[in-house]
């Protein structure tokens, strides 16, 4: 409890109107910040002496198909000093979805952001090499969006001919 309060206070202290929501569900702290402040918050969390969130474990996105702001980008970061897992969420407010990349803060987020771009179509600003990760180069759709069917779109991927 104390640790979670400390982190929330520190973030709110340095970025007064960035935090829009905090949740504590099943002992996991999750902080939602506005999408234009994400780079500043990330840099602060890494460089602050008490917090030192040095490792980025995961970057992904959620497609809330029916809400007004459709995509939310989720970051899971870890601090060795505090032994604490934090979840940062950021709701993407523009359409088509664009958000700042955090690769300047955590280089390990590189491939995760590429994967999120491939699966959801969210473009990351200032990413060193934003191209598709899993699907082939010319694929036109983004598979994990809710409007893409599980079985795929017929003839969207080429297959060699039968002998």
């Amino acid at each position: 409890m104390d640790l979670k309060q400390l982190i929330i206070e520190k973030i709110k202290g340095n970025f007064p109107d960035a935090v829009s929501e905090t949740t504590d569900f099943r002992d996991d702290l999750s902080v939602t910040v506005k999408s234009d402040t994400i780079l500043g918050v990330a840099k602060y969390l890494k460089e602050d002496n008490e917090l030192q969130f040095e490792m980025c474990k995961d970057v992904t996105a959620i497609d809330w198909a029916t809400r007004k702001n459709r995509f939310a980008v989720v970051y899971h970061i870890y601090s060795f000093k505090l032994n604490f897992n934090l979840r940062l969420k950021s709701i993407v407010e523009v359409d088509p979805p664009v958000i700042d990349s955090v690769t300047s803060v955590w280089p390990g987020a590189d491939w995760y952001e590429r994967e999120t771009y491939d699966m959801y179509g969210i473009v990351f600003n200032n990413h060193p090499d934003l191209r598709r990760m899993y699907m082939p180069e010319g694929f036109q759709y983004h598979p994990l969006r809710k409007d893409f069917p599980v079985l795929g779109i017929p003839d969207s991927l080429p297959l060699p001919e039968k002998i």
């Binding site: 949740t23 996991d28 999750s30 490792m55 899971h76 060795f80 979840r87 590189d110 598709r132 899993y134």
Partner: protein, 431 residues
């Protein structure tokens, strides 16, 4: 034999243009026709771009690496994934939590039961239930046995890649004994889908536990045999020492976890940092090395195998009695004999299978210490029986990011040693 038919037959052979039926790609044919001849200065000055393709004896699965070489030195490496992308996360949104358990088996297919346990612990965290003590101990038992099996594959195939082909036969011989134990315990030797929400599928009887103990008693001598073969071998050590150094800062910045992180000097093991199951009652060390090269990663896996054997002895001593599935009718499936004879169990079974377990709305992240690193599941639930989103944080995907950094300046044959030491498994890297 008629001379005419022989002559026609041979003529057919000689006039057949054998090249075109393989390379029927027209762009490629045009390039072949247009290319000038190479002159000596060209060949010695230019860099080569070589494809170490998805089908390769030593890439540990379908990983494609595009290398830029200057002679034999690697200037840069670009990995390409996606050759085994099966659509796990999309399929998870269509099926219930119980239906997804066999899919988690196929993630890290060398340590199948570890993935099952990690997934089911994530679901149990979301539901807020806990399995009984005996089930947790049996889960720990199979997790440690799976860890042994995975490290056997890793060590064996790594030694085979580097040239010592005997190791893969010896390590697979030990792995067969572990798979025999799984066969008796869970019904299948490889992809078992053994865990259930609230416990495990079947009980470990005395014969099984005796089999585990007998296996452990002879495992020490097998390990010593393997050590004598390789660890004193000057060629092996020279091939691996000082190659592919991953510094501590790089490892943390890139998000590398598991044995690769511990070989670079960071003592981070989730079984100690955030203990799950009953690891806080077991006494074990966390081996750490500081050099961060391929040899350190190899030694670390050997040390981890010995630590796992110690953990297994303690689990066998401390195994409690009791039930193996939680008494929680809304979430845990009742036993088959009760379903067929009692009314309420039948109704609960019907509701759970058809409508799903219905966890509360919210999201949860749980990670466990897999042999390859940290396997995490991020489950977003909207209150229905299917997850709204399931993200699998696989360790191999993150560990492969380090290849681009640590292969710079190495020779081509060192690239093989480096990939083997990072030990990626494409089933989980590609999801």
């Amino acid at each position: 034999m008629e001379f005419r038919t022989v002559y026609r037959y041979l003529k057919k052979f000689n006039s057949m243009d054998i090249r075109t039926n393989i390379y029927s790609d027209e762009k490629l044919l045009k390039k072949i026709a247009e290319d000038r001849e190479i002159i000596i200065e060209d060949a010695l000055d230019n860099e080569m771009i070589i494809n170490m393709g998805p089908q390769h004896p030593a890439t540990h699965g379908v990983l494609r690496l595009v290398l830029r070489l200057d002679g034999e030195t690697v200037l840069s490496v670009v990995p390409e994934l996606g050759y085994l992308h099966r659509g796990y996360e999309k399929m998870a949104e269509e099926m219930s939590y119980i239906e997804y358990i066999p899919h988690t088996d196929r993630l890290d297919y060398t340590a199948t039961l570890c993935n099952n346990v990690a997934y089911i612990l994530a679901v149990e965290k979301l539901l807020g239930i806990e399995a009984p003590k005996r089930a947790q101990f049996i889960r720990m038992l199979v997790v440690e046995l799976s860890r042994l099996a995975a490290h056997m594959v890793a060590i064996g195939t790594y030694a085979m890649d580097v040239g010592a082909v005997t190791m893969v036969m010896w390590t697979f011989r030990e792995r067969e004994k572990i798979q025999n134990i799984f066969d008796r315990l869970a019904g299948a030797r490889f992809t078992t889908s053994y865990t259930r929400i609230g416990g495990v599928a079947s009980d470990a009887d005395d014969v099984t536990l005796k089999m585990v103990k007998e296996f452990l008693d002879q495992f020490h001598s097998a390990l010593d045999e393997m050590d004598k073969l390789l660890l004193g071998n000057r060629i092996f050590i020279d091939r691996l020492e000082g190659i592919g150094v991953l510094t501590k800062e790089d490892a943390i910045a890139l998000g590398v976890t598991g044995p690769n992180l511990r070989a670079s000097g960071v003592e981070y093991d989730i079984r100690r940092a955030k203990p799950y199951l009953f690891y806080n009652e077991i006494d074990f060390k966390i081996p750490t090395y500081n050099e961060g090269d391929c040899l350190a990663r190899y030694f670390l896996r050997g040390d981890e195998v010995r630590e796992s054997v110690k953990i297994l002895y303690q689990i066998l001593d401390k195994m409690p009695g009791g039930e193996i599935i939680a008494n929680d009718p809304k979430h845990a499936l009742p036993h088959k004999t009760e379903i067929y004879s009692k009314m309420e169990e039948l109704i609960h079974d019907f509701m759970i299978i058809n409508h799903g377990v219905n966890p509360p709305a919210g999201d949860v992240f749980f990670s466990a210490e897999n042999p390859k690193g940290e396997l995490g599941f991020y489950i977003v639930s909207n209150g229905s029986g299917h997850p709204w989103k399931m993200k699998i944080r696989s360790p191999s995907f993150c560990n492969l990011q380090a290849i681009a950094k640590i292969c710079k300046g190495a020779m081509i044959s060192d690239v093989i040693a480096i990939i083997g030491s990072l030990d990626p498994v494409m089933g989980e890297a590609d999801k």
